[in-house]
Amino acid sequence: MQLALTEMRRAKLRFGLLTGAVSLLVFLVLLLTTLSGALVGALTGALEGLRTDGLAYSQTARDNISASRLPADTVDAVAAVSGVSAAAGIATLTTGAAVAGESLDVQVFGVALDGPGAPSGLQNGRLPTTDGEAAVDGSVSLGDVITLDPSGVQLTVVGLLRGAQFNAIPTAYTTLGTYDAIVRASFDNLPFVPINAVAFTVADDASISDVVAAIERAVPGVSAYSLADAVALIPGIESISQSFGILVGLTFIIGIVVIGFFFLILTVQKLKAFTLLRAIGTSSGRLALSVSLQIAIVVLLASVIAVALTFLAVQSLNTGLPVNLNVATIITTVLAVLVFSLLSGLLSVRRIVRLDPATAVGAR
């Protein structure tokens, strides 16, 4: 061990440059993972954060909440299904809006704020308690007034949410009554305002899959999903997630291979010294351990730098996405880089184990 540490101390520049290069690779993996997570989160956050066990859409909606239309009395029909403990409507539309002279798009959700389908992720303020109030995930402040276009309905921001965006645009959660007013402002002769979905919770003694099947049997024209399934089935999410997975995975693999090559180059440069060490009685296991220790130290130091760089990048990048540094993601990524770097270090170890100490005296 002492040998590995002494060498690193004596070759600060070499190991410093190596640590810098590895930290950039780890930074790239961390940033890509974080940004892709943020983008997928911005697409799905609104549904993922709903306080509900499952959602029911119209059968014709093809898994898409925005395309789903249900009469309001579907809520009672779902609530009456055995195993459902509570149900409430969710209505949503995309509309233009203005806040303090700034125009923006906003996805308005009308939900039962004290029942299934209420949002989570409240960072500041409170959820709406009366018509005309909204909890918002977007670039607004408490007390701001959002004027919806073309309805002219005004929403006062009483709560700030995080991780509750939908299709990567800001969301405003308000009462179903306010949602009715928004729709009727444009279509005042509607016999009723349809809802998009029914959120339902499941009784303690029932399973979500049984309840989903029971709702589909009992309520005609309805497709029911567990919340996880509803999120996974958002149109395009699967291919987007897979694409990001491939991107992050490839970056990770390339990074690991490059780290492996870095250490192999270092090893090849030191073959004379390693041969000498083998000749004077150092076991190949001891040398392999020494190289592995150096890989572990370099990767861990590089990871610390990479996490700091990612933190700075997340602070300074203005992507409009709810970018969060996820501790679990960081730990998983760093551990994966460490483990796979040590595995790629086997290239170097293999080279060392195959060294013939007799070459120290030129006997071959």
Binding site: L3, T6, G281, V361, A363
Partner: protein, 255 residues
């Protein structure tokens, strides 16, 4: 089980450790042949070589390039396995040791002075000595005292903290001699110690080497193509085309 434990178990009553209780160290090389390659490409580097060297003797192995002298010294030092024949150092049959046992054997019983790439480049002179002591688990304080004493005797006390690149060729060879003696080995094997030195410095290094080997009662074998250096050895062996012969007894050994 550690490599050291495994080796000890394999070798019975730990003949590598009880240096003080060993009988007189005596190198015996019997009918050693080394053939590289097979079939049509086979090359015989060493042909039934036989020699013995007593404890306290410093002998020279001379011969032209490619004659087999490096092969022989490598087999004696446990770096290379012979095709046939045996090598005994004291009561140990070197040719019967496993790869792991050979590694430990080299650390404990053999001191090497190589022609080039002789020192670990990122360790200071003193650390190069301490490193080999660490290989056999010597106590740190004992090893430090011995390293300082050896460096002092070799005239390197003021160079102890220098890296090899900061030392002259002669100083580097002297550090290598110190390292070779550090673990109090039975056998000191020296490969062309003067190759990178001028004649005067070469003589000085070989003289020092001979004196250290003899004063400490070690057995030393020096491979050299420089016949001027044999005057510092007790006996001279010659290899020609893989055939080993005992040429003469030298005079003035160790002077």
């Amino acid at each position: 089980m550690s490599e050291q434990d495994a080796t000890t178990a394999d070798m019975g009553p730990d003949p590598l450790i009880d240096a003080d209780q060993r009988p007189t160290a005596l190198l015996q090389v019997r009918d050693v042949t080394k053939v590289y390659g097979t079939g049509h490409t086979a090359v015989t580097a060493l042909q039934t070589a036989t020699m013995s060297v007593e404890q306290g003797e410093f002998v020279a192995l001379v011969g032209p390039s490619g004659s087999g002298k490096t092969t022989l010294i490598s087999i004696i030092g446990g770096l290379l396995a012979p095709t046939t024949g045996s090598v005994h150092i004291g009561d140990i049959d070197v040719t019967a040791l496993s790869r792991k046992e050979l590694t430990r054997f080299r650390a404990e019983r053999v001191g090497f002075v190589f022609q080039s790439a002789n020192l670990v480049p990122f360790l200071t002179a003193r650390e190069n000595l301490l490193y080999v002591a660490g290989l056999i688990g010597s106590s740190k304080s004992g090893a430090r005292a011995r390293a300082d004493q050896l460096l002092e005797e070799l005239g390197l006390a003021d160079r102890a903290k220098n890296l090899p690149e900061q030392l002259s060729g002669g100083e580097r060879q002297r550090v290598a001699i110190g390292r070779a003696l550090m673990n109090d080995p039975d056998l000191v094997l020296v490969d062309e110690p003067t190759a990178a030195l001028d004649t005067a410095l070469g003589r000085q290094v070989v003289q020092l080497l001979g004196r250290e080997v003899k004063d400490r009662g070690k057995t030393g074998i020096m491979v050299t193509h420089d016949l001027r250096m044999v005057e510092y050895t007790d006996r001279v062996f010659q290899i020609l085309d893989g055939h080993l012969t005992h040429v003469e007894s030298s005079t003035g050994a160790g002077h």
